[in-house]
């Protein structure tokens, strides 16, 4: 098996051949990574997840999981992963325990696994209640329990914290981090909760209108974030300061009566202040504005 647990090569797909959902996607998910997959509604996140799981047929490009082509190795690949696609798929006429039991039977797993996963997601007490009496959060936990059942090498989760309360979100986040750290489980998850992804992922992919506009590690994303950080300066004469700095700074603007200067590092901020003061101007305010994931996401996904 290569470096990547999930790899797609020039993967294209469209429900209608004339209107592709995405075109030539090259997704690369490293082993033991927590890969956060982001994109606005309709970007194609769930479609891509469905393709990775073989729920949709793809005509062009290749999908490789665990170093094996999905076409021709579907059963072997599916036995090594656990997944949760959109809303959890549960038999509402059965109890939570029965739902897990039937999955145990199909996967040929011992019964004691049932108790382990119920405990992991905190559903032991509600296990014998019918699923149609569960709240959305409880259903989400049960769906996650089913995904965790085979002790998968890869977890594919589509919006895993959907419907969970803040405590539930924290618990699931900690559980996923624990699985990743302790067992080296690779986790591929999509979410629209950017703040959640920021706390969880080691790698990130951003999809916009069927195009992968960013893919890399959290460190690489931080570099992008840094590139978009600015220094906001207010002086006794901003117009004069603008003319003073214009020759030295490649990008500089005057917005809302404040000077906006690209941020590189704190040393450069010191040099900037020194230059303004030497010109005889008073500095009223200097602040560094860092962009969070949301700003980066908005910038990357906007036209």
């Amino acid at each position: 098996m290569g470096r990547f647990i999930i790899e797609t090569n020039d993967l294209s797909f469209g429900y209608d051949k004339k209107v592709p959902v995405f075109d030539k996607i090259n997704l690369q998910v490293e082993a033991s990574a927590i890969y956060g997959f982001m994109g606005p509604n309709g970007a194609g996140k769930t479609t891509l997840i469905r393709l990775l799981l073989g729920l949709l047929p793809h005509e062009t490009g290749q999908i490789t999981l665990f170093g094996k082509h999905l076409a021709g190795n579907r059963i072997d690949i599916l036995s090594r992963l656990g997944c949760l696609v959109e809303q959890p798929s549960l038999y509402e006429n059965l109890t939570g325990r029965d739902n897990i039991r039937i999955n145990c039977m199909v996967r040929g797993l011992p019964k004691n696994k049932l108790h382990t996963v119920l405990k992991m997601v905190g559903l032991t007490d509600a296990a014998d209640k019918r699923v149609d009496t569960y709240s959305l959060g409880m259903k989400q936990r049960l769906g996650l329990a089913i995904a965790l059942l085979p002790e998968p090498e890869l977890l594919v989760l589509d919006e895993p914290v959907n419907g969970l309360d803040p405590t539930g979100i924290i618990e699931i986040r900690e559980l996923l981090i624990h699985l990743n750290k302790e067992y080296g489980t690779t986790i591929f998850l999509s979410s629209h909760l950017l703040s959640e992804l920021e706390k969880l992922v080691t790698h990130i992919g951003i999809l916009r209108k069927g195009e992968l506009v960013f893919q890399g590690s959290a460190v690489e994303l931080e570099a992008v974030q840094r590139q978009q950080s600015v220094v906001v300066v207010d002086t006794s004469n901003n117009q004069e300061c603008f003319l003073l700095l214009k020759n030295d700074q490649p990008v500089i603007s005057l917005k809302a009566d404040r000077l906006i200067v690209p941020y590189r590092d704190k040393m450069e901020v010191g040099e900037l202040c020194k230059k303004i003061m030497l010109a005889g101007l008073n500095i009223y305010e200097v602040k560094v504005v860092h962009h969070d994931l949301e700003d980066v996401f908005m910038k990357l996904t906007s036209n």
């Binding site: 469905r50 799981l53 073989g54 729920l55 949709l56 059963i75 072997d76 599916l78 036995s79 997944c83 696609v85 959109e86 809303q87 798929s89 549960l90 038999y91 509402e92 006429n93 059965l94 029965d98 039991r101 039937i102 999955n103 039977m105 199909v106 996967r107 040929g108 019918r130 089913i146």
Partner: protein, 263 residues
């Protein structure tokens, strides 16, 4: 690779607490209960019709009631409700992400429906006998207590009914794969039942090619028309097996190649 038995048993477990399970129990008990109720009210008229053993009359009333519309619609409704468990719970996508071949899923579902129909007929037997004796206890004039039912004929009727059911099972499984909306297969069955009545009323021998009439043809005494027997089965039951084979193959093809559960 998942073993056959565990994945097949899962299909049986799926109807737990569902209306499909209650339909099997209700379906098996309702017709003998209804016939017993009719006999309870019209016992004087029935006493005149009894020659020696009253059980063949009770049997004929029950089986004719079962065969004409009742069993056809029981099977149609059962197949629809059973497949609707996956549609309603949005679980097809989960089924297809389990390490099990699509073909195996199809075979398991087909066998599960056959088992449900066999259970329906097997449950019918004790319900029918109990209600017969209960009727005899309430109306001793019917002499049901003093005689015994012909169990061999009872099980033979069950066997032929199951063979006749196979054609409708395969057709409606295929329809349930093609159409998510269960109204379409039910509507189709209603239409076919009207055609069946027209064929019987017209005395058309071509009814032997019409699967929705096979239940009645199997238990009709005397036979509706002279039909040659090929081996242990009459002609129309061989046709039922033929329909079963053709529609099972068609369903298998659709299920393994195109079906995603989103239609």
């Amino acid at each position: 690779m998942t073993g056959f038995w565990p994945s097949f048993l899962v299909e049986i477990i799926k109807i737990k607490n569902s209306f499909a399970k209650w339909l099997i129990l209700l379906g098996a008990s309702l017709m003998p209960a209804f016939v017993a109720f009719v006999a309870l009210n019209k016992w004087k008229q029935l006493v005149k019709e009894i020659h020696d053993n009253p059980w063949p009359l009770f049997s004929e009333m029950s089986w004719k009631g079962m065969a004409f519309f009742y069993s056809v619609f029981f099977i149609v409704l059962l197949v629809c409700l059973y497949f609707n468990i996956e549609y309603k719970n949005n679980t097809w996508k989960h089924v297809f992400t389990l390490p099990i071949k699509k073909g195996q899923v199809y075979v398991n579902k087909l066998l599960a429906v056959v088992v449900f129909v066999v259970c329906y007929y097997i449950l019918f037997v004790p319900f029918w006998i109990i209600l017969g004796y209960l009727l005899g206890a309430i109306r001793p004039q019917l002499q049901l207590i003093t005689h015994t039912p012909d169990l061999e004929l009872l099980f033979l009727n069950c066997f032929h009914s199951v063979i006749s059911s196979l054609s409708i099972i395969a057709i409606h499984i295929w329809l349930s794969i093609r159409f998510k909306n269960m109204i379409i297969p039910i509507g189709f069955a209603v239409f076919c039942s009207i055609v069946m009545v027209a064929l019987f009323q017209g005395g058309a021998e071509e009814v032997k090619y019409f699967p929705y009439a096979y239940h009645y043809l199997s238990i009709s005494r005397p036979p509706f028309f002279h039909e040659s027997k090929w081996g242990p089965l009459p002609q129309h039951e061989w046709y039922s097996l033929g329909y079963f084979f053709v529609f099972t193959m068609l369903g298998y093809w659709d299920f393994t190649r195109k079906f995603s559960g989103n239609k």
